[in-house]
């Protein structure tokens, strides 16, 4: 019989080795500051106006920069663990709840995110920890400088995950995180959960997370980031920001978002409105249950054009302003279908035109279609896509099928 090294001995040896040299990564769970949201604003030195007792805090927020001037203001939101609901439930925390804030926003000003982050560590007893980061809110001013400049930190940092949701705020991004939401405990969580209703409301831009945004950036595609606005206790997704070459190139309103969703085949659900057939006043509304869009690049005589075919299925949801008690029958539904298709086509055309002429942002990522499906053509035009895109012929054709009419005829 072979005499084996008792593994217990081996284990003890290893454990000794370890405990003697130290525990490098150990940090108990309650000693970390879980950053749930980050807001990035742009900063220009003239903003600092020391006033009264706030002065000290303002001073804290300055990061001394070795090279260059501070241009960003980063705000992180961490939950105050003592006031987390579970503790109150277990009885040890008492009923401290009330109106006390449940989160702590720390702001810091500087020109590099890592130095801002490290400066923040000097202001908190917790170690900032980013694995639970949910949202990144960017101010439109920052975006105008370019996303490239700032996203590097978030991609390189080991704790960051690519599933962080990106949002754009007009004006101050910090304000969004300062919202005290009604349902959730933390503004960041609230914001993160918002796009969950994208299957009910097509005007919510389909979610863009950090990873996808980076992919678009690297591939040179234009994309859209949802825009958020805040009141005291509410946040709303209103339209989106168009990003081209990593810079913000304009706003898209909610109706545009709808079309962009359709074109990107990310339409999950929503309503389509149409005129009541044979009437000037009434309107009919369809609830879309499924939507499929096919975008095909067509080259005819060396000219590129696109055929967009939208297929929607839905329910007849509501009619407003119907005077006579006309029944909903097959004939009627057929007319309605045509009516809806017409609305979709006009809506699409309008937005496409806006994107082509006004903004010149290929937010539909048509360039990708060309690149993947007509590679030979793409090789020729890839450098002058900006000139080609506004003049592209994009034909939209919509097919609508109404499958159900509800419980009334």
């Amino acid at each position: 019989m072979k005499k084996a090294i008792p593994p217990i001995l081996l284990l003890i040896m290893i454990i000794d080795l370890l405990t003697l040299t130290g525990c490098w990564d150990r940090k108990d769970i309650e000693n970390r500051g879980y950053v749930l949201g980050i807001a990035v604003d742009s900063y220009s030195p003239k903003d600092t106006k020391a006033k009264g007792h706030e002065a000290k805090k303002e001073e804290f927020e300055e990061t001394e920069t070795a090279i260059g001037q501070p241009i960003y203001e980063m705000t992180v939101q961490i939950p105050i663990i003592k006031r987390s609901p579970s503790l109150a439930a277990s009885g040890a925390g008492g009923s401290s709840g009330g109106n006390e804030p449940k989160t702590w926003q720390i702001s810091q000003v500087g020109n590099a995110f890592i130095s801002m982050e490290r400066e923040m560590e000097s202001r908190t007893s917790l170690t900032l920890y980013y694995e639970h980061l949910q949202v990144l809110v960017l101010s439109d001013k920052v975006l105008k400088d370019g996303l490239h400049n700032m996203v590097d930190f978030f991609l390189r940092h080991r704790e960051m995950r690519t599933s962080v949701s990106l949002f754009v705020a007009e004006g101050s991004a910090k304000k969004i995180l300062e919202v005290v939401p009604q349902e959730e405990d933390h503004a960041a969580t609230y914001l993160f959960e918002l796009p969950i209703n994208a299957d009910k409301n097509s005007r919510i831009a389909y979610k863009h997370n950090l990873g996808e945004a980076m992919n678009c950036l690297r591939s040179g595609d234009a994309f859209i980031l949802p825009r958020v606005e805040a009141s005291k206790d509410e946040i709303k997704i209103t339209g989106g920001a168009l990003i081209k070459d990593g810079k913000m190139a304009g706003w898209a309103d909610e109706l545009d978002i709808e079309v962009i969703n359709v074109m990107a085949d990310k339409y999950q659900g929503g309503t389509v409105i149409g005129r009541l057939p044979g009437s000037d006043e009434g309107i009919i509304i369809m609830e879309v249950t499924s939507s499929k869009t096919k975008v095909t690049p067509v080259i005819k005589d060396g000219e590129l054009s696109f055929d967009v075919h939208v297929k929607m299925k839905g329910k007849y949801a509501e009619q407003v302003g119907v005077t006579s008690g006309g029944l909903v029958d097959i004939e009627y539904i057929k007319e309605c279908e045509k009516e809806f298709a017409k609305t979709i086509e006009t809506r699409c055309k309008k937005t496409i035109e806006k994107m082509q002429k006004e903004c010149n942002v290929d937010v539909f990522q048509l360039n990708r279609k060309v690149r993947t499906q007509k590679p030979a053509y793409w090789e020729e035009v890839k450098d002058e896509w900006d000139e080609i895109f506004p003049n592209l012929d994009i034909n939209v054709k919509a097919d609508v099928t109404i499958q159900m009419i509800g419980v009334m005829k």
């Binding site: 019989m1 593994p7 525990c23 108990d28 769970i29 309650e30 970390r32 879980y34 663990i81 949910q134």
Partner: protein, 547 residues
Amino acid sequence: MLNILRKWLSKGGRGEKQNTEGEENKDNQQSQKNQTQNNQTIYGQKYQNIKLTRNLQDNITNIKNAMNNNFDIKAKEFRLRGQEIYAGVIYIENIANEDTVLQHIVNPLMIESSLIIDRDDPILFKTIIESMVTAEYVKVVESIDEIILALMSGDTFLCIQGYEKGFIISTRKYVGRQVGEPILEPSVQGSQEGFTETIRDNVGLIRRRLRDPNLVFSVHQLGRRTKLEVVVIYIKDIADQNIVNDVIKRINALDIEGVQSAAQLGLHITDSPNSIFPLFQLTERPDRTVRGLMEGRVAILIEGGARALLVPVTLPLMVQSVDDYCENWIIASILRLSRYVGLFVSAFLPAIYIAVTSHHPGMLPNVLVLTIAGSRAGMPFPAIMEAILMEVTIAMLQEASIRLPRVVGQTVSIVGGLVIGQAAVQAGIVGPIMVIITALTAIGSFTIPDYSLSLATRAIRIPFMILASTLGIFGVSMGMLLLLIYIADLKSFGVRYIRPLSPYRSSDLRQILVSSKKSSMIERPIFLNPQDKQKQSEAKKGDGYGK
């Protein structure tokens, strides 16, 4: 029937043993050869100079002296009726059945003997035992060693004036517990009988369940002083002969004072005595033993031990329970799976908890991480200290509840529940999540059918916790790898402890890991190397399941 059994026992015993002492056999074949022409003494040189003489009185005195004239040694001299032949019996009062001695030996010889016996007739000696004594005759003995051993076992020595030899007559009295319920291994659907301390009853329990003439009981005497019977049981045409020989070889090679229980014996014959994992299976259930035998394993019973020792054993076999075979295979698989989960939880859960919370909270979802952090806010100890504290408390509680008399046992659970569950949390020494983890760990360890195995999980828990707190999940994984290598290297009587998880063989896996699914009822687990690989014929399968 019991008589037949006993014959089995005695014959088998006399047939193949008797060289346990004196020399240490390194070579099995050698030892078997020796057994046939064995003239070795049982008690070594001790009684070498005492010889039986023709004088009855001398013999009795010598034997009594050899046994230090203890008060319970009874000797009776008498005269055969109508003859001038004197005879004597010696027995030990409390372990020999006195009624048998008087009724079946003394009575017939003294009163009922009517044959004329010629003093010089050599036939006489045989006639006494063949025609006169009605008690069960065992053998003729000449050596004092054998006589003493027989007396010590409860047999009676009958000695005749004028002969340098005598008879051993079986008069053993078995006093023991009634067959009771198994305590450590209760079963819902299985039988409610458990082994007792009497080897004769235990053999009967097995015999009753397995009426196979190929069932072999090979008896060995073990212990320099205790001289207890050890019975090695196997089914001749199933069990791998190599394993059987190995077991017998190891038992015969033992040179120890004596063992009192099957577990002790197991520790003496195990492959690696340093192993924290049990390399033999202890069971108090006859039905489990029988199942083991039919799988081709070897069972070992020892006089005075209420457990059977089943070897070889592998880790997956340890996780089986008798109830597995009483349920539909789907249900049984779920049950078994839950036991595997229990095994995993009981060994690793605290370590994983520590690693995740103190190294990688990123693994936890947002809400959970805030809940745990919230519950730990303001705790004085780091998670590792908390865990060790709880672990020690639980270990003490378990130990206390075993040691305490059953009447007081209630108190322990109340005190323990109060101390751990409530006071510690309220005082803010231990977080509520830690209490949950500890409780889960304890529950997990209770699902393991084998007590020794659940003790093994307890032994590895704290090292893993330390690894977790120094290196996080990486440390835990390295520890698991180390453990895996260790287990993979262990062998139980030549069978790797990890089989049949490796090497893969689908029928074994299905049978051991999942459960007795239809098709796997046909074949025996091949890793035990059975001679007869089929359990039932293919045709039977069709009949049995109505196709």
